[in-house]
Assembly symmetry: none
Homo-oligomer: 207 residues x 4
Amino acid sequence: MRVEQARSRTRRQRILDGAALTFSRRGYRATSVDDIAEASATSKGGIYFHFPNKEAIFLALLEGMAALLHDRMERAMAEATGPEAKLDAALLTMLHTFGAHRTLARLFLVDAMGANREFSARIMEIQEGFVALIERQLQEAIAEGALPAVDTEITSVAWFGALLQVVTRWLLAGKPADLNDAYPALRALLLRSVALPAANRLQAMTA
Amino acid sequence: MRVEQARSRTRRQRILDGAALTFSRRGYRATSVDDIAEASATSKGGIYFHFPNKEAIFLALLEGMAALLHDRMERAMAEATGPEAKLDAALLTMLHTFGAHRTLARLFLVDAMGANREFSARIMEIQEGFVALIERQLQEAIAEGALPAVDTEITSVAWFGALLQVVTRWLLAGKPADLNDAYPALRALLLRSVALPAANRLQAMTA
Amino acid sequence: MRVEQARSRTRRQRILDGAALTFSRRGYRATSVDDIAEASATSKGGIYFHFPNKEAIFLALLEGMAALLHDRMERAMAEATGPEAKLDAALLTMLHTFGAHRTLARLFLVDAMGANREFSARIMEIQEGFVALIERQLQEAIAEGALPAVDTEITSVAWFGALLQVVTRWLLAGKPADLNDAYPALRALLLRSVALPAANRLQAMTA
Amino acid sequence: MRVEQARSRTRRQRILDGAALTFSRRGYRATSVDDIAEASATSKGGIYFHFPNKEAIFLALLEGMAALLHDRMERAMAEATGPEAKLDAALLTMLHTFGAHRTLARLFLVDAMGANREFSARIMEIQEGFVALIERQLQEAIAEGALPAVDTEITSVAWFGALLQVVTRWLLAGKPADLNDAYPALRALLLRSVALPAANRLQAMTA
DNA sequence: GATGAATGAGAGTTCATTCAT
DNA sequence: AATGAATGAACTCTCATTCAT
C-alpha cells in the first residue's frame, strides 16, 4: 500500500468515526455535513472528496457494521456444534455486539429506517443477509435431523424480528437495563419455537 | 355540538386524511406542509390552526391508527376463548389490518422510526401498548393454567417484534406477496414458543 | 384586480427592480440571491415565492425589456412613413432606449450571453424577434417599391448585429462617449446598404 | 531550447487543447478545473503550475484564436488587390475559420461575454483589434481613391457587428445551415454600404 | 514539475413557521 | 377560521485555489 493511500484511508476512517459519533448522537437528519466535518477534524470539502454525499457516509457506516456483525455471528456459529450451541453463539454475539455499541445500534435500528425512502430498500437487503444466515443454519440442522422440520423462512424472519425488537426496546425504553438479562428467556423462547427442549442446554451454557 | 365545531372537526379530519396520503406516499421528511395543505384542500395557515406543527399531525395520525388497531385486537381477543383462539384473533386482526392498509403500515413501521429523535420515545410508548396487550393475555392464560409459565415480558416483546418484522419485510421486500400467507407458519411458531401444541388447532382454524 | 394580487405584484416588481440593479452592477453570476433580496428589501424566501429560481428572474427581466423595446420600436415605425423615416424611428428608439438605460443594456447585451448554456437559446429567440421586426419592414418597403429588392433576411440580421455592436462598444469601451453621436453615420451606412440615397433625408431629420 | 521547456510547452498546449474542448462543450462556467485536468490528462496542480487561474486559460485560448484569425485575415487581405477583393478575402477567411471551428466560435462569441466582468474589457480590446484591421483597410482604400469617403470608424464597427451576428445566429439558431450560404448577400450588403457596386465583382469572385 | 488531498467560502434552494388581513 | 405572502435559518453540495509530498 502506498503512503498516500494509507493517509487517505486514515482520513476516510476519521470521517466515518466522526459520522458514527454525530449520527448516533443526533440522528441522521439532524446531523449536518458540517457537524461531521467538525467531529472528524476535517473540512466539508474533504468529506466530499472521500464520499459523494451524506447518504453514502451513512450507508458505508451501516454496511461496515452489518458486515462486522455478520462476520462475527458466522464465525461464532461455525465454532459451535449443534443447533442449541449455534443459536447461543449467534444470540450472544448479537446481544454483546449491540450491547457494547449502543450508539451504533441506535443508528442501525432506529435511524436507518425512515431516514430516506431509498434507504429502506438497502436496509432491507442488509436485514435479509442476517435472515439468510439464520435460515441457512436452520436448514442445515433440519437436514442433519437435529431439528424437526419447520418453516425456515418465517422462522428466521420472526427470530430476527424478535431480536431486533428486544434490542430496540432496550435502546429506546431502557428495558431491560442490561441487554444480556434478556438472554435466558429469549433463548428458551426461540428454542421452544422450533420444538427444541431448552432446559439442559441452558444450564450447560451458564455453567 | 355547535356547527363550527362540526365543521372544524371535518377540516381537521381532512387534514389528517391528506397527511396520511402524502406521508405514506413520500415519507414524513419528504412531505412538506404545503403538500399536506394541497392534499387536504386547505391552506398552510389552516393547518397551523388545527395543529401546532407538522410533527403533531404525524403523531395524531400514528396514535389514531394505533388506537384503532389496539381496539380491534382487544375486541377480537375478548370474543375468543382459550389462548390459541386469542392468539389467532390478535394475529389475524393485525395481519388483516396492515394488509389492508399498506401505506399506513409503512408509515407506522418505517417512517415512524428515525424521523425525529423525540419521536422514537413516543413510538416506543405506542409499541409498549401493544406489548402490554399481549402480555396481559399471556398472564391471564398462565393464571388460568391454560399456558405453562413463561417469561411474559420477553415473550410479548419477541412476539410483537416477530410480527413487525414479517410485516416490514412484506412492505419493503414484497415477501410474501400476500401477507396472509405468513399466517400458518407464524401461528405455529408462536404457539410452539410458549409450549402449546399447534397442530390440531391450526386444523380447526383453517377448517 | 384584488388587493392581494396588487400587493404581490408590487413585491414582484420590487424584486425585479432590485435584480436589475444588482445584475447590471455585478453581473448575473456575481449576483447572489441574497444580494437581490437585500436590494429589493425582501427575504430570500420571498424571492422564491415569486420566482422558481434565479434564472427565472433574469429571464423575466430580459423579456420585459425586450418586449418594451420591441413595442416602442414597432410603435415608432408605425407612425413613420417611408423606409427612411421608419429606419430613423427604429434606430433612434433603439439608441435612445439603450442610451437611457445603460445598466439594462449591459444586462441585455453582455450578461445575457454566456451566463448559461440554456440561456443563449432564449436570447437568440428574443433577438430573432427584433430581426423579424426589421425584416418585415424591409419586405413591406420592397413590396411597395420603395426599396430595391435585397436579401431581407441577411440584411435584417446584419443591421441588428451592427446596431448591437455599436451599443456594446459604447458600453464596454465608452466609444462614442454619447451613443447618439453614432446615429448619423450609422443611418447613412444602413441606408446605403439597401441602395437608398441617404443625404437629403438626413438633413431633414437633423433639421 | 532545453528538453524540459519543450516538454513544458507540450503540457501547456495539452492543457489549452483540453480546455478548448471542455469550454466549448460545456461553457466557461460549467467547466471545472478538474474537467480541464481530465481532458488534458494532467492534474489540477499541473494546471496551476502553467496558469495562474482558470480565467487565464480562457484568455490564453481566446487570444490565441484571435491572433490566428487576425493573422489569417491580414495575410489574405495583403494578397488581394482592390477594396472588393480585400473585403472578399477578409469575409471569406472569417466565415471559413468560424465555420470550420464551430465550438471555438461559440467560445469566442457566446461564452466570452458575460463570463466575468473583468473579462469583457479584454474581449472588447480583442474585438477592437479586428475593427482596427477593417478600418485600416477602409482608410487605405479611401486614400487611394478606390472608395468614397465614409465614416471609417462606424463602418468598421458596424461591419464587424454584422459579421458576428451572422455567425452567432448560425451558432445558436442554426441559420443558415451552412455559414457560407450567407456570403453572397452579406458581401453585396457590405459593398453597397460603402457605395461600391457589387454585382460585377461578385461574378468575378464566383467565377 | 507534477500530483491530488485538503480547504472553506459561498452558492442556490427548501420549508416549517408566523402573521397581517 | 382561514388564507397565503413573507421570513430566515439551515441545508447539501461545488469548486477555485493551495500546498505538502
